[in-house]
């Protein structure tokens, strides 16, 4: 793994690891790795259960591309792409 990492540029590495909710196609399961951002929405997002380690599922996007709906801890949560961008995931 280390050997492979060294041969990729830094930017590419970042892109591979920093996938966010908005990158997920509909129906995709993933696990939250980090929450970036430090505003009131981020805090509320975490209080609603979206914290590192939890598994989520991307359900769908609304008309015009916003908002999106995810499944987390057994319920459906809607948020804007803006908020979803601060949730880093890995599949």
């Amino acid at each position: 793994m280390g050997h492979y990492q060294r041969s990729l540029g830094l930017e590419t590495q970042k892109r591979l690891t920093n996938m966010t909710l908005t990158n997920l196609p509909a129906g995709q399961d993933a696990r939250v790795t980090a929450i970036t951002g430090k505003n009131a929405v981020t805090r509320r997002l975490m209080e609603m259960g979206v914290i590192p380690g939890v598994s989520v599922q991307m359900v769908k996007t609304g008309p015009f591309g916003d908002p999106i709906e995810i499944r987390v801890r057994g319920y459906s949560l809607a948020m804007r792409k803006n908020e979803a961008d601060s949730i880093e995931v890995s599949v």
Partner: protein, 666 residues
């Protein structure tokens, strides 16, 4: 024992997430004995009721739903402060019943962990256990209770099963030693606040892991299947518009009969008063001021009730959240929140409940922006005005052979209101109420069959609040208006009052026109010389560029209290009698024939159109201003609303009339 009960009434707070079944539980525990009011200074509902716990009667308080004690909206703030005993005027609860939805366990338990940190005696009421188990999951309540260090009682909010056990358990915890509060600490290397959140969920996950078994999660839930259609990118919107139109249409068609009945009832009451009481100021005040004033509000009750009924059904079923989801993008382009949809939609019946509904919008500036534009949604009070104008000047005309001009004009007026609202929101959010685009974070609750009892109770309480609020203000204004039109008394023949009574009685009997033409009608003379009439003359120079004469001016002044008053005022001015409405043939004819002081017709189709445009945009409802004052907690906003809407209305009416003249429509 009795001393304790007298000295200190036990207060128990019902806390929990929205959609957890809290209100249904509250209703089943307190029944019809609940009292609904408002927390001082705001229009957040305050619901309390008696609940017997052990041998005492406690005061059960239904708090607004909240997700966390770290509040993000006004609703949540109040609930949070009450729980922590920091809300002046509400005593700190002696115990808390936390309503937890079993189908949504982990997130619901987050609030519970925060309450545990407060050290208040706590009992969990676990709801929807039957639904949970139907999904083939299992839950060991005993084990969960031990792991959470909190007693749990399963209740079925629909049937009421378990409520006695709940009361018994609450009684148990009431006077036990206050537990040392739990402490959740961050594990060190994270942001402290975040760390606490993680620690709480850690605690929750551990407890849930040991006591709950989830079946295969990948089976499609019923709600998800419905949502494939209802929140479909394209069909979802189409269905939404369809549902809205249907609700709209139903409200208007179902309410017309009760409204007619109510109108007749109040008319009969006025006649009764005039025939039973001796003629004089008091009789006139009661018949024309008070009965007419109260009647003017109550007549809208059928529409208000139906609106609240449909809103309750849509909310309870879970559809409202989907509507906000679908419309959010559109609304946020203008700077509004998806949740603004419900208040704005309600405003089509009446802006007062609509403005009250903005309390779910978290951000203060977004809330105010929604409040400021709500009155542009053409409310039902404008309908009599539109109807009268259309019947008098656009009746029977069609376009393309089958579409009535009247219907087109109605639609145009509604659309004008919506367009101006959108523009106003856009401007406001960029200037006065500038704020970062509102975040959108909203739960989409599973679809549920609405609980009829909750729905009806909801409908009745909100309608009652509307009546109290609008009623008192409109009543006061009606009396003031009545005085302006009544004083100073002009010289009348001594038989004048009787003639008035007879004339009104005769008009009610249907042959009034003849009588009115034979005697100099005292009504219009009275009006001419009254303070109201003088005011009408005074503003004539201002309104004549809009095509209005002083008589219309008097009606305009009167309608600034309440829009529908225009119709009754015009009736008086044109000597048709006080009790005519917008469908009366005589009033319609009178409007067509009305002449200005110089003999030219007072009304043309263009004037009628101008008046409608004015009514779409003008702020002509004292009750609305009163509500805005309460909601924004200052006089600045209602004054600003009055000013900017009046200016917009004037400019638009000016443009309509002058523009129409230029195009040759005079």
């Amino acid at each position: 024992m009795n001393d304790a009960a007298h000295n200190h009434q036990i207060t128990i707070a019902l806390a929990g997430n929205p959609n957890a079944g809290k209100t249904t539980l509250f209703n089943s525990l307190t029944g019809l004995k609940q009292k609904v009011a408002n927390y001082p200074g705001v229009t957040v509902e305050r619901k309390e009721g008696p609940w017997s716990v052990g041998d005492k009667t406690s005061k059960l308080v239904d708090l607004p739903g909240l997700y966390s004690l770290d509040a993000t909206s006004l609703d949540e703030q109040i609930a949070s402060e009450i729980i922590q005993g920091e809300y002046t005027g509400v005593s700190k609860p002696d115990a808390i019943v936390a309503v937890v939805d079993a189908t949504n366990l982990e997130r619901n338990l987050y609030l519970v962990t925060q309450i545990l940190e407060c050290g208040i005696p706590l009992v969990i009421a676990l709801t929807m256990v039957d639904v949970f188990e139907k999904q083939k999951h299992e839950i060991d309540i005993e084990m969960l209770s031990v792991l959470l260090k909190t007693p749990i009682v399963a209740v079925n909010v629909k049937t009421g099963r378990g409520t006695k056990d709940l009361a018994a358990k609450v009684n148990e915890v009431l006077f036990t030693q206050p537990k040392s509060p739990l402490i959740f600490d961050s594990s060190g290397d994270e942001d402290e606040a975040n760390g606490r959140i993680f620690a709480r969920y850690n605690f929750i996950s551990n407890a849930v892991q040991e006591s709950v078994w989830h079946s295969d999660q990948s089976q499609h839930r019923f709600s998800e299947k419905i949502d494939r259609v209802l929140t479909h990118k394209f069909f979802g919107l189409v269905i939404l518009v369809g549902i809205l139109l249907l609700v709209f249409q139903t409200i208007f068609s179902w309410s017309s009969l009760p409204m007619d009945l109510l109108e007749q009832g109040f008319g009969a009451a006025a006649v009764f008063v005039r025939t039973q009481m001796p003629p004089g100021i008091l009789t006139d005040l009661v018949a024309d001021g008070i009965i007419a004033g109260v009647g003017g509000v109550v007549v809208f009750l059928p529409q208000i009730l139906l609106l609240f009924l449909f809103i309750s059904i849509l909310e309870d079923s879970g559809y409202m959240a989907r509507a906000a989801f679908l419309l959010d993008k559109l609304m946020s382009r203008v700077g509004l929140h998806g949740k603004a949809f419900l208040p704005l939609f309600s405003s089509f019946a009446c802006a007062i409940p609509g403005i009250m509904a903005t309390r779910t919008i978290e951000n203060r500036r977004d809330r105010f922006a929604t409040i400021m534009i709500a009155p542009f949604m053409s409310c039902s009070a404008r309908l009599p005005v539109y109807t009268l104008m259309i019947a008098a000047f656009f009746a029977g005309q069609t376009v393309l052979g089958f579409i009535s001009v009247g219907a087109i004009l109605m639609l145009a007026m509604y659309t004008l209101g919506i367009l101006v609202a959108v523009a106003a929101a856009f401007v406001l959010k960029r200037t006065l109420l500038k704020a970062p685009p509102p975040p959108f974070l909203m739960e989409l609750p599973p679809y549920r069959v609405p609980n009829l009892r909750t729905v009806f109770q909801n409908m009745l309480t909100r309608a009652w609040l509307f009546l109290k609020r609008a009623g008192t203000v409109i009543l006061a204004i009606s009396i003031i208006l009545w005085s302006l039109m009544y004083f100073p008394r002009s010289e009348q023949p001594s038989a004048g009052s009787e003639a008035g009574t007879t004339m009104t009685g005769a008009i009610n009997a249907g042959d009034g026109r003849q009588t009115a033409e034979n005697e100099p009608p005292p009504e219009s003379e009275q009006l001419k010389n009254s303070y109201a009439g003088k005011l009408g003359h005074a503003i004539e120079p201002v309104i004549s560029p809009l095509g209005f004469d002083w008589k219309i001016g008097v009606a305009l002044i009167a309608s600034f209290a309440a829009r529908e008053v225009l119709v009754s005022t015009l009736s008086i001015i044109y000597n048709v009698g006080k009790d005519e409405n917008e469908e009366s043939e005589t009033l319609i004819a009178a409007v067509r024939d009305a002449k200005k002081d110089d003999g030219k017709p007072a009304w043309t189709p263009l004037t009628a159109l101008t008046l409608m445009v004015f009514f779409v945009l003008a702020m002509q409802c004292m009750s609305t201003l009163a509500i805005v004052r309460r909601e924004t907690n200052s006089w600045r906003w209602p004054i600003f609303m009055m000013a900017y809407m009046t200016v917009l209305a004037y400019v638009a009416a000016f443009a309509t009339y002058q523009g129409g003249k230029l195009l040759g429509f005079e």
